[in-house]
Symmetry: D2
Subunit: 146 residues, 4 copies
């Protein structure tokens, strides 16, 4: 199972070439990560950080941009879990125009579970590991560009 | 005396109309406020907030946009103090293409001195009031658009 | 009648004081303006600009910030039309935590109808003037802060 | 030879964890790329795109985040050319606190030379290829994290 959420690509998220500024595409991927916590896992990321003192900062990412995203697009962002470690999680994100279309861009984002008070690595709590397993995505299903 | 600092208007700060997205113009004004602390007052705003526990959040602003700003522009932002209260300061900001040119946009931003720990209003410390007086700007000298 | 739309205030839209960076609040107001075109008027603003060659850039704005907005908030943004001129429209925006609550911030934004090819002022088309009339908001109904 | 340019990390470029929002770090890398055109190559990227109709959009990137960047930091961003193809250039960027310090983060960004009118790939002009050669950086000199 993967998670998906829809966005309106915004008027101010454009660059001087008239298309999506790529750091903003990574912002939309982060927004999808936030929506996944709220809508699929039932625990808003703000509460996870502030009350449970658990955070998942990015330590590494790889992104590919296959086709331009423009103002007026209402793209879907999809999220799956590519790899689950003891204290790390690698997410796969991709953006499509329609629900089932070819990806416009994609990114794998490696995150580390950290204690938000010390910012030190910690073990991923079992309760989340189990939930994350429901979103496991094989490399073969992480869609490539044209 | 007014303070001025120069920026490069950035590739990603453009909207789908091909010109500056106006919330970004207010961001550049905030950057000028930060530069004023570092370069004119000799106390970086980060230290003022973190060590002195003093902040100056905006409570009200008025902005006017006279002419478009584009990617490739290297505008000057000017800052003056329009009004100094017991615990409030009103700043005037304006952006020009060349140092002495007509304004492309301007804003007056009313800020309140707050204690960063309680976020309650506090009296503006005398040391800063005196320094701010050096940047007082009369309404007549706050440049209008065409 | 006013228009309202709900947002998730995002993880990356925070400043170093731990609350909403105010230029971002104006960005959320612009997002509400875009949603109004798509959801209430039935003509996405991207098509209005690209196909009908009509745009409504801001020429002046006044904003007031009454209470902090934080990450995890899911605020409503409300939009009404405060004033309709021949070629100008003044919008009122305000943000609330719950649908009916007191405003966290508000802004009036004066826009000018322009031809997107020449960027010159033009008359507001009658078809839009009529639709905009349905969203007229009296000053008395534009909510003030505490 | 590598290029370097200094930034002030800004008040509004922070996330709710109190550190740099990582899409913003990639924005600072892009700003360094823009400064490189203006300051090292003598041709502002805006003119390259608008007059010479040449652009270098990112098609792929890999980023690593080694240590947090905070408000008040005044980091250096360094740029080198990791690989020069017929119509592609791979850049290496890294950010350091002081000029010679260990990297806080780094990214390799693969760009494709495109004609800005057709957005199709084109051969990198010889004049730029030669200039880019002056910034070639070996993998061994692209600094790794701790």
């Amino acid at each position: 199972m993967t998670f998906r959420t829809r966005f309106r690509y915004r008027f101010g998220d454009i660059d001087d070439a008239g298309i999506a500024y790529y750091p903003k595409l990574l912002h939309y991927f982060h927004c999808a990560f936030e929506d996944w916590w709220s809508d699929a896992l039932g625990r808003p990321y703000a509460l996870l950080m502030h009350e449970d003192k658990l955070g998942l900062p990015a330590v590494k990412l790889e992104a590919e941009f296959f086709a331009p995203v423009r103002y007026g697009d209402e793209p879907w962002v999809h999220l799956g879990v590519l790899r689950l470690g003891t204290s790390s999680v690698e997410f796969g994100f991709w953006m499509t125009k329609a629900k089932e279309a070819a990806p416009l861009c994609r990114a794998r984002v490696l995150t580390a579970a950290v204690d938000m008070e010390t910012m030190k690595k910690r073990k991923l709590p079992e309760v989340w590991r189990e939930k994350f397993e429901g979103f496991l995505l094989s490399e073969a299903d992480f869609p490539r560009g044209r």
